[in-house]
Each structure stands twice: as C-alpha cells, then as structure tokens.
C-alpha cells in the first residue's frame, strides 16, 4: 500500500482532486459505453415482441415463456454487474 490511511489516499498530498476526478470521469464514460448498447438491445427486443403481439404470431407464446431467459443471455452485465 502506498498510503497509511484512507484520509491520505483521499488527499494524495494535494493531488487528490486531480487523480480522483480523472478516474471518476473515465469510469463514468466507460460505464455509459457498456450500458447504452445493452439498453438499446432491450428496447429493440421489446419492439420486436410488441410487433409479434400485433401480428398474433405463433412465436408469441414461446417468446413470452422464454422471455426471462433470453433477456438475461442478451445482457451479460445484468448478471455480472460490479
């Protein structure tokens, strides 16, 4: 460990705001990059299911019964969120 206490790690001898700010910005952006396509896929999936429903498709029963499973398979970080 490079620091003796949490306080020291937070202050980083005056460089704390710079270092923590840089890390916070980076992780916020990386999280956005991962989450946005996942949300997009969920939305498309909902739209496709809605379309089936309008058409009275025979796939509907299967799609709804299997809804939970493929949704989890489509969004890996839903189950592996940090």
């Amino acid at each position: 460990m490079a620091f003796d206490s949490f306080e020291a790690a937070w202050q980083m001898a005056g460089h704390g705001p710079y270092v923590w700010g840089a890390y916070a910005l980076t992780f916020a952006l990386l999280c956005y990059l991962v989450v946005s396509p996942v949300l997009q896929m969920r939305q498309i999936r909902r739209q496709i299911v809605a379309q089936w429903r309008r058409q009275g498709s025979t796939d509907l029963a299967v799609a709804e019964s299997g809804d939970a499973k493929p949704a989890a398979a489509n969004s890996p970080e839903a189950s592996n969120a940090p």
């Binding site: 840089a22 910005l25 952006l29 991962v34 396509p37 498309i44 493929p70 890996p76 592996n80």
Partner: protein
Amino acid sequence: MWSVIHKMGSPPWFYRFAGVFLRWCLPLALAGLLVGALWGLFIAPPDFRQGNSYRIIFIHVPAAVVALAGYYLMAFAGLVSLVWKIKMADTAMRAVAPVGGALTFIALATGAIWGKPTWGAWWVWDARVTSMLILLFLYLGVIALFEAYENKAVAARACAVLALVGTVNIPIIYKSVDWWYSLHQPASIKFTGESAIDSSMLYPLLLNIGAFYLTFACVVVLNMRAALMNIHRQSAWLTQELTHP
C-alpha cells in the same frame, strides 16, 4: 482462413459469436478495470518527481493506446467495406467510432487534468495534444458524416474514405514527441531495450492496457450486436434466436 472471414460476414453467426464472447469477456474486462484501478490508485508507489498526480497514467496511457489502435481497426473495416462491399465491415466501422471517440476524449481530458499540477496548465497547443485533438475530430467526423447522408450505402462509403484518409494522422501522433520539441513526455514503455519505468509501475500499467483493450473489444461487439438486431428485426434467424436461444 477464408471460412472464418466468410463466417464473420454472416449476421446470424456473428450474433451468436457475440453472445458467447460477451458472456466470458465482459466480466473479465470489468474485473480487469477494477483491479487495475485499485492497483494504480493504492498499491503502486508514488513517483519521486510527480508525487501522486502520475497515477493518472494508469488510465491516460491505456485510453490513448486503445484510441489509436481503434482507429486502425475502424480504417481497416472501412477498407474492407469499400473494396469487398461486406456489410458486416460497415457495421464494425460504425461500432468502433463512438468507442474510439470516447477513449480519445478520456485521453485528452485525463491529460488536461494531469497537466494542471504537472505543467501548470490545463491545455497546451503541444504537438502530441493537438494531434490527439485531430483524432477526436476524425472520430466525430465519421459519426457525423454517416448521419449526414440519407442513402446509407453512400454514407458508409464516405465514412470509409474519411477513415482511410485520417490514418495519416496516426504515425504523426506516435512520432510527435520525437519530431517536435514537446512538453509531453516521451514513451515510457519500449518494445526494444529497457523501459524507462520501474516494474512496480509497469505491471499495473500493462494490466490496465490489457483491460482497456478488452473493454474496447466488448463495447465494439455490443454495439455490433445492437446494430445487427436493429437491421435484422424482420429476419427469421433473429426470431429463432430470440425464441429459442
């Protein structure tokens, strides 16, 4: 070799491949980022000259390295799309652009934050910094150019040409610290000869570079999967995938 390329161009195959790839690599990438950040923030020793501000290197350098590599990938996808008219290459090119742009932005922003306590200024019109800013504009340009065309086949061709022309900037970025008298420090990691960085700082840096590469790959694959779902809403194979995964 050709069969692999042929498969890569097939939407159903890629969709399934993406599912398997993400199930394993996304958790690994996120874990790598977490461990890399903790190592860089708390375990690596402070720099004898810069103190703790140098800890920004553990995100600044990986973001910059992957942003540059991502540009090559985008330009290569553009070339494939232009020459062989493979639709999947189009999809790949468009999936890379926002990720590369975000990483370039991260490199510039963390560089600015690092510059304040180290150089005494948020921003300098330095060769390295300015050429990275041009890289950001190239990424944004590809995104904006695609949106500008009504005809998406024409849009993809225009983007591919822009991406290919922009590759001239990449060697300039690499060499900028050697060609011009620059405020930016030269590379610390060298492929030949001894690196100018102690192993207690080198290992977390390499781990972070690996984690950023893997995260980049995962986000590109996620973007491609979302694009495939969007394009192939009506396709029988997607129905099959959604109902019988």
